[in-house]
Amino acid sequence: MSDGEWKPKIIAIICNWCSYAGADLAGGARIQYPPDIRAIRVMCTGRVDPLFILKAFQDGADGVLVSGCHFGDCHYLEGNYKCAKRMFLLKNVLKNIGLNDNRLRMTFVSASEGAKWGMVMEDVVKTVKELGPSPLAEKKN
């Protein structure tokens, strides 16, 4: 890692059954990706209160990822649909407060998609790096 390179702060809220398992599988398969994301485990993405994400941005997160099961595969039937709806609305809120809504991402990674998890990690880090530090984070410092 080159010194002095800006490292984004990205938080991921991921469901226990699909994306967390997929992230574990990426580990089992030794798929390498950038270490810039910190994951918080919830049982279902349905648990994700939009306020958690706003709090993360308020705290200065440069990006937030929410990842759950594919549609139709939710361990709790439909939590991921409900989360996806909320994320859609939340993206509008972000736009309205002047934050690039690409800083918030929702993905669907199943328990068997270790390789996809690695790709999501690469992609989210790349996107957020391109966007640069969050204006909210800059204000804090």
């Binding site: 890692m1 938080i11 992230a23 574990d24 990426a26 798929i31 390498q32 950038p34 270490p35 361990h75």
Partner: protein, 675 residues
Amino acid sequence: MAENQEPRIGVFICHCGTNIAGSLSVEEVKDYAMTLSGVIVADEYQYMCSTPGQNKIMDAIKEHDLNGIVVAACSPRLHEPTFRTATEVGGLNKFRFEMANIRDQNSWVHMHDWDGATAKAKDQVRIAVAKAKLLEDLQPKSVPVEHAAMVVGAGVGGMQAALDLANAGIKTYLVEKDPTIGGRMSQLDKTFPTLDCSQCILTPKMVDAGRHPNIILKTYTEVENVEGYIGNFEITLRKKARGTRDPEEMLAAGIEGSGCNGCGDCAEVCPVIKPNPFEMGMAPRKAIYIYHPQVMPLQYTIDFESCVKCGLCAEICGPEKNAVDLNMVDELEKVKVGCVILATGYDLIPIEEKNEWGYKRHENVITGLEFERLICASGPTGGHLIRPSDGATPMKVGFVLCAGSRDNTGGVAKPYCSRFCCMYSLKHAHQIMEKIPGAVPYIFYMDIRSFGKMYEEFYYRIQHEGAKFIRGRVAEILEDPATKNLIVKTEDTLLGRPVSIECNMVVLAAAIQPKPDAEPIRQMFGISKSQDGWYLEAHPKLNPCGTTTAGIFLAGVCQGPKDIPDTVAQAEGAASAASIPIHQGEVQLEPYFAQCMEDLCAGCGMCVTQCPYGALALIEKDGRQVMEVTEAKCKGCGTCGGFCPGGAIRMQHFTSQQIVAQIDAFLLNPLGGEE
């Protein structure tokens, strides 16, 4: 409760041999943990999951009067139960434990970034400590378990699982969508490497399953809907309209007559002729049919899609039996079971879509399953192996192994090994040499995988009997239009030169794939699949029969390619695993229930509409509406809590405060120390 207590957290960091310690600095993470507020003790050990590792936790709880434990190690999906037990044995409530996944989601995925991985591990520990400080005592909820089980799929795996459960004294529903039990194994002629007749060892099992007092056989029946959870699954079955009734059904329905006794008079008069799928379409059946004489139950079925309702069958069945009912309709039935075993089996891939081998274009290219029927004494040719184009006896037969298996070219091809094709192709080679004097089998292979007990010895035997082995993936099969012979083109990679061999007949060892209805069944039971569509086990090594949905177990090829002994062994394992909660009579559920904080609840009822389980309701309390949770129905997904506009729902173990504390810990306080 945590709120009234000063946090006293112990942090334990695992080396996992070199799995963790080889990619990040455990020592640095430990020193860092000590700087975090609330952390009283931090320690590290080579294997935290070992007895000495667990003892460190238990001793530290007593020595330092800890009220929260953080272990930074592998995934909670692997060892959370282990460390929760250690926490409990150490004298704390087991829900006062939190895990930081610094292996699967750190050291293993950042193996070449020591500084990055170390920094991430510190953050992960800080995040875990932040949650641990807010953890509280919780009591797992016990629920009673229905003393009954269901097995879906009645092939050899499903039958074995059902028999084991039934013999253990458990009432077992054995559900099969076909009109008979027996599955793929009943289509096989002989089994490798012992060469005993498949039907001879299978039909007694079919009879046992059919007659067992604890087995309720539900053939020609599909799973329609699944509700509930471990211990209390409520499953709706669709009994498809069969067109006939057995004696018991006659009695139950109060209809005069003795019912179907399998005499077959009806099929004789039926004018509709259709291909018999059991014979891989190589023999006819009528619209009213049985697959073969050994079916269980021996009861005729009307294929209503092809039936012309001429009524001849009903007429000949006569008023004494009165078994036929041309106006029969599907019936739904609800059953309650404690555990479920899925054993839904496999199909061959549509090998005709691999153009190069000409299946369904060249008449004399057949699949392994078609070969089984052609060589079987009870098959369409009475066991005479003839080639489809002209009925001639094939003297040179090519066997193409890995036909679509271990093939990354996409389309219908499968990247995995289908596991039993090498062995059945060796068996087929033996069978033609045995049945046709002078016949020569050519086995085109990439590897021979004779992995089982006495399998390698069987391979030697076939070599010595005179089978010709050619190593190389078959590139193309051409047909001689005059003779209908087949020219198999490949490279002999041992000799390093192209070869083309003329055969009278070619047998493709086609790759296997999940059944098309595996997908809706999987979704109904809420289990995951692996990349290729096979059902996903809870852990590939430590829990190969279980799934991530409590109370659902797997047996046989629906979990991945397996031969008969492995299928039966897994079925016995699944039956044993399923019988444990049933015999215990109750299971403990993680108490991640929603709670209503009534002083914050505005009684809007939005949460009620969010809950997929109908666990929430509005009730009248002190003159106003508030939400009430029925814990027995709540599964702890938190969808209500993620939605409540008033923040009035508290998800135990995943409270908003705990989650926000984790977010804050990462983003606000990167250097540790006082918050």
